[in-house]
Symmetry: C2
Amino acid sequence: MLKYALLGFLNYRPMTGYDLELWIKASTGHFWHAKLSQIYTTLKSMEAEALITSHVEAGTSRPDRRVYTITEAGKAELMAWLRAPLIEHEIKKDTLLLKMFFGLPAGKQALLTQLRLQLDLHRQQQRLYEEETPLEMLRFLEDQPEIADHALLWDLARRFGVMYEETYVRWIEESIRVLEQTLSDDSQK
Amino acid sequence: MLKYALLGFLNYRPMTGYDLELWIKASTGHFWHAKLSQIYTTLKSMEAEALITSHVEAGTSRPDRRVYTITEAGKAELMAWLRAPLIEHEIKKDTLLLKMFFGLPAGKQALLTQLRLQLDLHRQQQRLYEEETPLEMLRFLEDQPEIADHALLWDLARRFGVMYEETYVRWIEESIRVLEQTLSDDSQK
DNA sequence: TCGCTCATGTAATGGGTTACATGATTCA
DNA sequence: TGAATCATGTAACCCATTACATGAGCGA
């Protein structure tokens, strides 16, 4: 699946694996990310499939760069994927929920500690999407004015991030209240 | 990680791989699930780690059942995991967001079709968590009254499912409105 | 001089899915 | 008679993470 994210970016303009990681971090990071090692191996297999081609640009003071360009076959594959209807409901695994679900034997205080820690993290993340992500997106769009018409869609995705974190924060706050009021302190066992 | 879900259930009472799948479907399904094949291989490796033991019960009219029981080491491992603070913010990959993000070349109509299809699915899922999941949980608790005190935590997790789907539905509705009002119909390219 | 950025890769391992294989009983 | 439930497993594969490996230039 990372394949399609890479095709999507290379459809904007040719770039290197390293560039792709920077773009991913700044834009799709909150709903799709990858390590550099995976990006490099995926690009290699995509080239073998002829979805992209590459050439090496010799660096003068910087290291050599392998620049990837999308092919017609790659564009066709991207388009087919974009149009293929997504007919399943995706389930997202969540470790915090798993710990809460089975958490009774750990005791009330342990559960509250987990919740408070995650509350902080999710609040931070929400602020990030609201304050920093738009600025980062702007910086990328300034450098690449040819993709300004994509900004609307970029922002819809960002908006999801904000709403998701709001909901997560609300759920944790509610859960803390419920636990404080109902679980006995010695629920440990 | 499935390991901890299995330990969590086996901490209620001994059961088979097949049983575990039924429990997962009825309770943690919306935030943690697994195929039978993975459950069987994971149980096997957990037994090798001495976190659980197993014995075969000969079936009379039914197939033989391999029943797994949690060991003291297993209980200790579960407890340590429950108490280990979760210090990262988990990012959930989302295919719909990825398609939206890169979707401009597919055209306005294709995007709206994707959104409407997913809107249906998420509304259905929301109804499921609100109406059917509580009933299923009740059925399990009736059979296992000894775990009734876990019901509160089960319900917190279920509640997250409801809130998540509400938010997803709201985001799709907003996105449909934005796309209808702002994207030109011939945005295809 | 120490850490960061730029830049590319390979190898090993882990977690999970798909496909394959089997077979009796029960219910509609 | 055909589908669903009960019941267990193996093998191949895919996607992703972690660890390993290298190295120049730049700014504090």
